[in-house]
Symmetry: D2
């Protein structure tokens, strides 16, 4: 059953308050200024899903329930499904200006665990896949919002979890108990937690036997006993606590540190519990579609930067044609990350479990673009925007509305548009390029260096060497790799 935005908000209000920011417990995430923007962002997904114009892209038929469900809770079974993911991400960035990771992360998580549990069960005779199916069917019926939690604090990067001074530096199973397990640790920098009904937990990396207690996956209500969420703070997010248009945007992004203080997870919600060999496929199954489809995210935000750049030019009295070359480059950047995401979907392949596997090589190449092109797009937006957009070089809303000198400030902020309109668009550019709207495109879904590693392992270097030998007229053995190096 698709929820209305109101039903979604109500579901959040009914949860136990356990989100903190700036030392304060947030009683109602839907109204508190620190979290209401991300709730608004996610609400818009619910609104679009029941909007005739968008329902095709945002919903799909579920083989599990036989009903129309949100795509965010669906298993992607074809290239088309995966392309829809990229398109949805772009659309939502268009509509909210930033990341709604509280739903799309979870989407990615269930699609990573779907084939993983399928293969794991086949090998180990476990029943994780069935549990996942049942839980997912219920999630679809309730149309929940669900963050994904992958990243562990990790502590010292050169030591494995079990080698750390503090064994809690990655989330782990501390006890198997009748009917479930108990977990302790934290998952950090998790997107959209305040807007989420549940958290879908996955192993943070590939583990060996010594670290098998860290190889865990499960779904849990965000307000379950023992869970506490502490929001992170970004540049510019203090403006969200204020009136006025220093932050002119009604949507927003949040990221949480989720603390697990000996949390009990009932068996039917556990999808991995120590099967360390499945942690690698789980993570790889997460990474590839994530890195591919994120191209839609940065393209979607880039679209907004294109629009904002044109508006600031107009506000300054200039035709956007003056900036033709720069706008073309911005468009090219957007279409590149979007297009590469589409290509990674199309060049994928079906998995026996019925899900669709992204092409690893193209997905990871896209990650490199995602880690560079948006930076150029931002720079160009700042170049077009002029000094006020570059660093938000304008007096505050409070100064613009000061009874004494506010009018004079506005007098000097007007150009070809009135001061308020011009400031709003300049602040939007600032929000997109330096402020609270900046999503974590560089390290979200893992670092570019991680992507480079996968590219090195996936690229067919042998085949390339073979064709070069053939063309150069060389025979086997004419040139060989060095013995050691």
């Amino acid at each position: 059953m698709l929820k209305s935005p109101e039903e979604y908000r109500r579901s959040l209000k009914e949860m136990r308050p356990n989100v903190h920011k700036f030392g304060e417990l947030i009683e109602d995430v839907t109204t508190h200024p620190a979290t209401k923007r991300t709730v608004e962002s996610h609400s818009r997904i619910y609104a679009l899903a029941i909007d005739a114009e968008y329902e095709d892209i945002l919903t799909t038929d579920s083989p599990l329930t036989g009903e129309k469900v949100s795509r965010y809770l669906s298993i992607m079974r074809s290239a088309e499904d995966m392309i829809a993911n990229t398109k949805i991400k772009r659309l939502l960035f268009n509509v909210t200006g930033t990341c709604t990771g509280g739903r799309c992360g979870g989407w990615n998580g269930i699609n990573a665990m779907w084939p993983t549990t399928f293969d794991l069960d086949a090998k180990a005779g476990t029943d994780y896949h069935e549990r996942l199916k049942e839980w997912l069917a219920q999630a679809q019926r309730n149309d929940i919002t669900m963050s994904v939690a992958l990243t562990d604090p990790k502590g010292n990067r050169t030591l494995r979890p079990s080698e750390q001074d503090d064994p809690d530096m990655s989330l782990r199973m501390v006890e198997r108990r009748d009917g479930g397990m108990v977990v302790r640790g934290a998952k950090i920098m998790i997107c959209g937690v305040a807007a989420a009904n549940e958290i879908f937990v996955m192993p943070g990396t590939a583990y060996g036997e010594a670290d098998k207690d860290y190889a865990i996956s499960f779904a849990i209500p965000r307000d379950a006993e023992g869970i506490r969420c502490v929001e992170t703070t970004h540049p510019g997010d203090r403006r969200e606590l204020e009136e006025g248009f220093d932050n002119p945007v009604g949507c927003g992004i949040t990221q949480s540190y989720i603390l697990f203080e000996d949390v009990f997870v009932p068996e039917e919600r556990v999808f991995m519990a120590g099967e360390f060999k499945s942690s690698l496929p789980a993570v790889m199954g997460f990474i590839a579609p994530y890195r591919a489809t994120m191209g839609g995210c940065v393209a979607g935000q880039g679209d907004v930067m294109v629009g904002a750049s044109i508006l600031i030019a107009w506000a300054n009295g200039l035709s956007e044609k003056v900036f033709r070359e720069k706008l073309t480059q911005m468009v090219a950047n957007n279409e590149t990350t979007f297009g590469m995401g589409v290509a990674a979907a199309v060049m994928g392949e079906a998995h026996p479990s019925g899900s669709w596997r992204t092409n690893q090589l193209l997905a990871n190449v896209n990650k490199l673009h995602i880690a560079t092109l948006p930076y150029e797009t931002k720079r160009l937006a700042q170049e077009i925007g002029g000094g006020i957009a570059e660093t938000g070089c304008m007096p505050s809303y409070r100064d613009m509305t000061d009874p004494d000198y506010g009018e004079m400030v506005k007098k000097y902020l007007k150009a070809a548009a009135p001061a308020t309109a011009r400031v709003r668009v300049a602040r939007l550019i600032e929000w997109l390029t330096l402020g609270a709207g900046v999503p974590g495109c560089m390290h979200g879904g893992g670092s570019p260096d991680g992507a480079r590693l996968i590219i090195q392992r996936t690229a067919e270097f042998d085949r390339c060497v073979g064709m070069a030998m053939e063309l150069a007229g060389l025979e086997e053995g004419d040139i060989s790799p060095p013995k050691k190096n």
Copy 2:
């Protein structure tokens, strides 16, 4: 009927000699050193098409003949067909090291004229589409190789064809005659002509009424009465006339100036004759798939550069791991132009005539990558290759085999591989990056500035402005474009 490589070569031998290079008339293009390499390249297509491993990708069923035909003579009817185009281009660059434009250009031409003639007939009541069908069915049965000829000499770029001092600067119809028309002028820089059985001619640009005689399209045997082909000369192609391995590659690329001295074209081979309004869709229909699928070409050559770079490292005694970052970047460049071509295909749409239309925006964005990324890939190959690969800084084959000092030259050219093997791979890199193997990826299919123009016209700037206004909390009219600028 698919031809064997031998049958293909025989078909070329049977043609009237009309290809010239260095002031010489080439009697047999299959054996003359200036043209035998491009014939060899195209022969490999024929060989692969009847090779069980490759026939799926290189052939398809024709609705026209009801038989299996070469894809090079097929109409692309789906995204999959167009992706196959990109893959074939990559494969052929892998196998020949360079461009086999003598077939793939023609492929693109028929796919541009297919919907164009369909729409034109619907409006004008002409029968071009039927003619094209019949001619094409015959071409499929004969499995011909067919270059496409689009580029006109143009003369002064700021004047239209009919404004030029010399009206022949673009190819034109000089006479309509019973049963056909007579054309005069030239098409220049045409790829693979020496290896072609026929030439598929298209209008070189969009024409207005004043230039309607230039709006012509037709297919003609390469050796038809009145046609003379003069080959161009590239850096390094004089090596093709010599023995030895200064050019170690058995394949090659050629480009011709095709001179039309009042050539008669029979009616059944004419697909446009003065319908100037159809010149724009013809050209646009050519450009988009060309710019998309060329990504396969440069990826395919990039694959060879990756292989050659690893080989030269080995020949120098180094592990390729030393150059890990550079190889990763080369791979990323290859996959980007390839992937964007795939995306442009997938995001396309069906045309009522049954053909598939590429996504213009993605295709033209890919053109920008094609005009830059291969240059970086070449630079990296030269960086890995060292001084000898950068500028081919080695004595010639004749010096290496000189009875007096040849051995001494070889003594100093050996490294971790014998001199000959090392030189062969260094010369391959030279051939790929500076020499006769360099295809025209920058201007082939039109210039990058042309692509930028299409991007500017295709990008949805209005939609972007709308979303930025929404997010910034602006209302209609708050900011408007300047009156004039």
Copy 3:
């Protein structure tokens, strides 16, 4: 007489409070959290100038007073003096992390007006140069801090000042009065105003006769009657109002909107008053050294990013060697903008007034690097820093010190370094790349497009054409520019 830091602070305390931020009048800029950081930054200049290790670079002998004075108040008379400028900017960014434009802007201003007034007097028989000399001698004796104010609000960019609906959109002379003139309007985005004793005002662009009242230059105490300063607000600067280490840096940058409400400027402080033909040389004389020496600014901040990147790697338990390639690129970026600044100084020439003129071409080329390379350096710092540095993805100081859950937050923020140390360095990277430490390197000193225009006018295209003709064996007239285009 060189002031001590204490004397400098005292001089600020003695001024009339006229700086506003967030709707509040700041009573004491040296202690108010919104301005104390920029005062601290500028204090460090005073401290270094009397420090034996740095006095050579920070001071010089004045021909005006015969005494050792701050270089910030000196006329640059040689390439060495101008190189010192670049070095000082780098040093101060090293020491404060950000911009101390409250002194170095003024330095640039007096060096622009020195030759301008010299030439103007020679032509017009005025005595501006003498006035400037006398005022400067006094400024040197008092060792003042002096911002430069160039940028006007401008209003609609396509209309000249006198064509605007509101004639005040650029600062202008509204009345010549006995012993001086009265000015109205504003100068905006002016750096370091809160830390300044005086403001050095210059024309914002080149004016024609119709706009001659805008062609004005003068020096004025920052707290003169009729002047009001309203601070701008940047992402992250609200943290400056808080306790703790969410902003770990004791220095800072501020930018002001300076409102002039009919301010009287006494004659002896007026250096241009309507001589519109001198506005172009004034602006050009400002731009060139500014664009050259800013290379030191971004290099200096880049140095800090290099250091912070190494620290965050260590804090995460990694050797900096892992990021060798990235650090090398960061260093190369820093040295490029620094080196180009040095080159622009060296390739300059002496002006008859005794001052040194920067090489325009090299200075403007450097501007293009300044508008791009630091963005790459920031991106690389974020790439090395990981998710927490990229967007400051950490709970706030208040959460880290919360009596209830603060310890648990810190538990999960530690790595190879304790939580607080790691957070401090991650926040430093955030401050440098997204937060309050980001200076306006893109548009400071004018936009990159302005620099491109000057490059186009300065480059010796004719000479290049001549050498190409010579080499290609062409004679005069073989190829000529098109008549019109």
Copy 4:
């Protein structure tokens, strides 16, 4: 005594023929088509040195002879001298279109050995410095052209010279004999040898004790007994053997493999003979000024590309303004490598021997620009030039002058300029970007990776870490490097 061009040519004619190309012994390098172009290039240096307009830049006073000598044979004693080096390189590329390494390499060599022998003598009590002085005074008096020979064949890159199967893979001393030493091996890829009177030999890398016989330096007549030179062949250089304008340029570049078959070097010409510890300073003393001043080379060739690009636009009927952005970027690239060379000179320091030491860090950063920016400049020249310039896509001179169809070819090659003029400039661009005019800027003076290594060793990472700690409020020990990694 400065030689006239004629005297220089005569000096070459008088030498023993020992230069080979394409299996042929060249009897007279001044007239043979394979070598006459590089002789012409070097002749122009002689012509300019006695031209009043250029003598200041090309000559200087020698403390050794007390006379005016060619700068190419001078010791650089100041930043100004080193800037002159950069300017001369730019000028000669402007005038010849390509590299005149036959003189400027030697210049660099003597400046590397000057301080090296000075320091070596001080430590070891040898008299190399005096020998160098005397030999140099004589060289100045004879105004010789002198190539530098540094690069050894090296064989397997992972083995040291003495570990190679063949000990001759680097040039070595095989015998000390009364009055001198005997050397065997080869120096390869040596520029301008055919135009040189002498060869100045240096160690190819830094050697340890085991390889001390490779640590040798000396000057020797190019035609000394036992020396044989074999020219390398580059793409496009076969055109130099032909008539017509397929290569329209009268100047050229050559590179040789110099084979030493037990060559005796008299004592007074030996400047290092086994003092292996001096090989590192020799090489480093060579590298730094080379990498700095090469910026002038690529800038100088870039100037020609700018000119040629404008000409081809005109020849096509277009205004150069169409390509404004691209030309601006080309100019920026040229000025960057030039400017960084100037900066590396200025930031250098004096050596006790009286010579000037380049700043290592800036010189090596410039190497990175030299290895990338010219590639972009070439790409832009090809983009502006269109298809004919990109790959030289034009029929040959022989086809253009064919009695039968030559006029028709020319008819279609004309545009806004006649065919011949247009082809000449298109061939010039081809020659510069793909053909025989391409110098080895990537690996000349060592590879970019070598430069990266020096940057890593030269950059002050500790100082950067210190300033970041200070700014972040960290104390000694708060964050430390990992123990091992």
